[in-house]
Amino acid sequence: MPELTPGKFEIIGYKKDDINKITRPAISYWQDAWRRLKKNPIAMVSIAVLIVMVIMVIIGPMIRGYDYVTMNVAQKNLTPSSKYWFGTDNLGRDLFSRIWAGARASIIIALVATALKLVFGTLYGALMAHFGGWVDEVLMRVIEVINSIPSLLITILIMMVLGNSLFSLLVALSITAWCNTARQVRGMIKQLRESEYVYAAEVLGAKPIRIIFKHYIPNMLGILILDASTAIPGFIFTEAGLSFLGIGLKSPAISLGVLISMGQHSMDFYPYQLFFPCLLLCIIVMAFNLLGDGLRDALDPKLRQ
């Protein structure tokens, strides 16, 4: 309790400047989301893990000084040791280097396929939402058809048509995946189109292009980022599955999927050849999943204060 003196009881009123003062710090939506994300230890650990992963897939194959492609038959199938941390494979190649090289391919594939999926899905969804009516009906049918054909068939056939290459792998992976994005974007835009601020822009005379770039896209980013964070592990996993059917990457390129499918054949004898790539896959998938969960919380407008 401060001291009560008569001087303190003079009416001073309020200052004009004070009344509209905003006590909350000036931060953008993204900063705000980031701040919330930072408060989420699990999401932060996931980010840290992912950063380590990114660093490792860049430098990992170099750390041990062994080329991940060149074979050395004399050293094949060695168990983990101080020389070969994760052991060697059936052609005597350092598994530690190979695993990171594999993770690199897996992550790149996942990222690019996700980008393809997002770009195509967004455009397609926007088209559906924008035109509506029979265009919407027709485009929706296309999605329905693609969804009804087993994705395995589509994937394998695309790989057959385009040949076994990284490009065709990406196309094959994203071709069934974009449907979901397109649907989401369609729903989002239909919702945004009814939102008051889009009406406000229209009242101001904004052209559709402006509305798309200034309003739709920024406001969908949150959903799209979330979509991406769940799609990435999905792609890594699907690619791994394709490797089991032998329609993954073309050797000598390797991915985690290729390593796991090779490791599976020797799991009775050299379980570590299966264990390490599986472990890494788990860690990556888990990191992306948990980050996705964290993002959902952080980007959720309901939790915004």
């Binding site: 699990i42 049918r141 329905e144 058809v145 693609i146 969804n147 009804s148 054909i149 087993p150 994705s151 395995l152 068939l153 589509i154 394998i156 056939l157 057959m160 048509v161 592990p233 996993f237 791994a240 599955g241 089991f244 059917l245 796991i260 599976q264 799991m267 299966l274 599986c278 896959l281 788990c282 998938v285 888990m286 999943n289 948990l290 969960d293 959902r296 309901k302």
Partner: protein
């Protein structure tokens, strides 16, 4: 209702037609044809005979017409690669096998997944929650093939609790020989467990934040009653949405499971057919799978209505 049904069926037929068309041209785009292999060592005249026998000598559009006509009459033709195998035979012999495997996997997966989802949602932020997360990531990250082989080695090889391979047949096709189905069902259901656990957790968390849950609480209902009567039903919409995907997946997705447990199902055959470019079989199987998918979609729509009274069959929303 009758009108609605008619419209739905018409829509389904249209979609099926589109699917068949898409599949046909997709298959046409693949280089080579199913007979390349077989005809390799044949003299030109004999080769021509062979192509004629399977109708592959005709121009594409004509073959398209023939194929479509066949599908319309339920005749998908015979396998190009395995002489004598027909889609009809496939449906008769293999579909029930896959169906039982799929149903068991999906049922077990959904049941366990939902239980774990409820656990995770109710105990949000606790060890149990993270355990469920870790478990579900593990379940989706490790390929079912590896799970299958491990289960086989441990429970059939070392412990001898279950037979190594095999699947009930004959009169046991649907409800017998359970011991044979344990390992394959387990190996295949992990993916569903993970997916449904995550899904239900998310949607339950959404529902828990709703005002009507607070209303229920203010009535003095017990926690269990609130979950059962107010939260679960309202959380089921996303779960239902996922169903058709699972059904579509469980047929072709059991390829590895069927292969390691020597289960004569449709999944194994499908992958073989793709690799062999076995046009007729692929067409037939795809149309059948798609039809199943579409029917499940329809069932899903009915389920939506059953679960959420706000959704009506005829209008999207009221």
């Amino acid at each position: 209702m009758g009108k609605y049904l008619i419209r739905r069926v018409a829509e389904m037929i249209l979609t099926l037609f589109l699917i068949a068309t898409a599949t046909f041209f997709l298959l046409e785009a693949v280089p080579g044809d199913p007979l390349t292999q077989r005809a390799e060592k044949l003299a030109p005249t004999v080769k021509a005979n062979l192509y004629k026998r399977y109708g592959l000598d005709k121009p594409m559009m004509e073959r398209y017409a023939i194929t479509m006509k066949g599908i319309a009459t339920g005749d998908f033709g015979e396998s190009f690669v395995y002489a004598g195998q027909t889609v009809q035979g496939l449906i008769h012999d293999r579909l029930p096998v896959s169906a039982r495997l799929g149903v068991q996997q999906v049922l077990l997966g959904i049941t366990v997944g939902l239980l774990l989802g409820i656990l995770a949602a109710m105990k949000r932020g606790t060890i149990a929650d993270y355990l469920v997360i870790v478990l579900s990531v593990l379940m989706i990250s490790v390929p079912s093939l590896i799970f299958g082989l491990l289960l086989q080695k441990i429970f059939a090889g070392n412990l001898k609790w279950f037979p190594t391979i095999g699947w009930p047949a004959g009169k046991d096709l649907w409800f017998g020989g359970w011991e044979y189905t344990v390992l394959p069902t387990l190996a295949g259901c992990f993916g569903y467990i993970a997916a449904y656990a995550r899904l239900l957790k998310t949607s339950m968390l959404d529902v828990i934040g709703q005002d009507y849950v607070m209303t229920a609480e203010s009535k003095g209902l017990s926690k269990g009653a609130i979950i059962r009567k107010h939260i679960l039903r309202n959380s089921f919409i996303p779960v239902i949405t996922q169903l058709p995907m699972s059904v579509a997946m469980c047929i072709t997705g059991s390829f590895f499971i069927e292969s390691i447990f020597s289960i004569p199902g449709i999944g194994q055959y499908y992958v073989t057919a793709v690799n062999n470019q076995d046009l007729s079989i692929l067409m037939g199987e795809t149309v059948i799978l798609a039809a199943m998918y579409i029917i499940v979609l329809f069932i899903t729509d009915l389920l939506y209505v059953a679960v959420d009274p706000r959704i009506s069959l005829t209008g999207k929303n009221s």
